[in-house]
Amino acid sequence: MIKGLIGRFGLAARIGAAIAAAVIAIQVLVTLVFLTHPPNFLPFYSARWLSGSAVEIIKNAMAGATEPSSVLRNLANAESLSVRFDRAPPRRATSDPPWPLNRVLATVRSELGGPTAPTVEAVGMGPSDEPIPVVPADASASLPSGPLRSGEDLLAPPFFLIAADLHDGRWLTIEPSFRTQRRRLMLSLAFIFIGTLLIAAIAVLTARSLIAPLSQLATAADALGRSPEIIETPRPGIREFAAIHKAFETMQTRLKRFVGERTHMLAAISHDLRTPLTRLRLQAEFIGEGELREGMLANIDAMRDMLTETLSFVEGDASTDASASFDLASILISLCDEASDAGAEAKYDGPDHVTALGKRTAIRRMFSNLIDNAVRYGGAARVSLREDATEWIVVVADDGPGIPPESFEQAFEPFQRLESSRNRETGGTGLGLSIARDIALAHGGQISLANAASGSRGLIVSVLLPKALAAAS
């Protein structure tokens, strides 16, 4: 239901909504953190509170408290101070700290009073362990000193250390609580982290929902060239994508229709030519024996071959053959035998049986074309079949002049005939290699050309067919 609701918005609205959602999420988080852990914006201490707290803590400690948590008990804002017990006086302690800590120290001393009063020392300390003077040293002398007067208070910097000798071998040290500050720091780090995760999650979810229809379209577009059927994709909810989707479907329909019409036309022409060609073939029979008739028959046969080849190229993928188990070697043997029966030189070298999976008639057509080419242009076909771990390798070599390497790619193009290097009289449509490559690719294989090593002549056509023939179904 939510999907349907969101679905009605456009792309811009969705991106906007994603950003807004992220911002709102962060604001909610900030508010939550602020409410549960209100920040301590003023790190300064009140000198009166500090001296009072120190007196209280020292008294607690002298009364026998041994744990930092117990000496801090019942103390207001106790979390702002940290207390620890040592066996020796702190290294930085001095009995003459800079202003205003000297006044805090004096107050503590005066309030503790008595002969049993512990020694109290204090030091101003900065982050670098050096005392940070709050006022210039020479100005310090003119400032009031001694314990705080009644009603008087001062701001004490957060860099202090009050150490008290408890006269029982223990030293008590009171410091600003860095733990609280560290926790605050950790908290803000965690908040940044959680916030980042939150934004990332929202971004990923949004992006995914935005991209999903695009991926579907991409898949459909990729399949467009392979499948003769119209590829259905669900109509995306986003307005802009729906428009693309509609355009794509229209394009697909037009494209299929266009290709279909062309294919149909080519097939129809090739097909319809057969009837007059059959008539011609029959008429030739009535001419009577002789050179004229033989010539006519040869031409008619050449035309028939071209028609057959064109039709098989046009039919191409439309072949309804299912993938099945067949004997690859037997095809090569038969083709070579048929070629030698027709007076050509064709030899097969390889095992007698090799079981493969694929479209048998297509595979046969591919090798028929290759062997036919070798015989026609190369004077002989030497076919070999071997295997490696993953592939069957069929090589068809001939004794012809070969073709220049720069023309290899051109040789695979439909209706291309490399007349420059080949005999014009040999006929053919220039579809043989195109058909062969289509078939090899459809079976997940490859087909490549090479010239024989220098010193010998001939073109070498290699066909690699994966053993797990990815038979196009």
């Binding site: 097909h271 057969r274 009837t275 060609l277 059959t278 008539r279 011609l280 073939r281 029959l282 008429q283 029979e285 009535f286 008619i300 028939r304 057959t308 039709l311 098989s312 039919e315 072949s319 309804t320 053959d321 099945a324 188990s325 067949f326 004997d327 037997s330 095809i331 043997i333 038969s334 035998d337 048929e338 029966d341 007698d352 049986h353 079981t355 493969a356 048998r360 008639t361 046969r364």
Partner: protein
Amino acid sequence: MNTGAACHVLVVDDDRELRTLVGKYLGEHGFRVTQAANGREMTKAIEVGRFDLVVLDLMMPGDSGLVLCQKLRELNGPPVIMLTAMGSEVDRVIGLEIGADDYVVKPFSPRELVARIKAVLRRVAKVAADGDDMPLAYEFNGWRLEPAGRVLRSPGGAVVDITSGEFDLLMAFVARPQRVLTRDQLLDLAKGRSSAAFDRSIDVQISRLRRKIEADPREPTIIKTIRSGGYLFTSLVQAIRQPA
């Protein structure tokens, strides 16, 4: 009605010129020919005359050749040779499954047509004499030969490619297992369809066939050479008549 002479052939094709030419050629080769331009004319001709064979074009306006062929089959009519312009394997099989006895692909050589007509007539005559119809398949040593699709399957189920010469030779063997066949007999039995392929000697065809079906072609166990001159198909052959 063994061959030629008195055989009456009905040629059904919508192309008048082609029909006439086929008729003329068949006439010259001793057949009596009647022509029909479409299904209606064909039905009419069948009602009036008696035909030994129908040459039927596949692609015709109105009722197509496949429909007419089916009709002839239902009427238990004469054997049919289809003229088809569609060369692909699928169409051939469909044509044969629908009941055609054979087919020729346009543009065909009229000599080939005559050879096929004669082969079909011979087969029909043999069936009439033996009361024996063409089985769906022959099985021997795990191999399976399907005459309709001209398909040979290995014991593993893979389709093994065989040339038409090899197919015809194998058909001759599986129809007469465990009988010594001389070269002349084989030549005569197997040349029905593909006379061209038999320019090669029977011995060459035999060795090619062995390469396809024998485990070791040099030590053949299925097709044995008989010293006195001939070959013996040693395996037991089972003719399958019911679809599995």
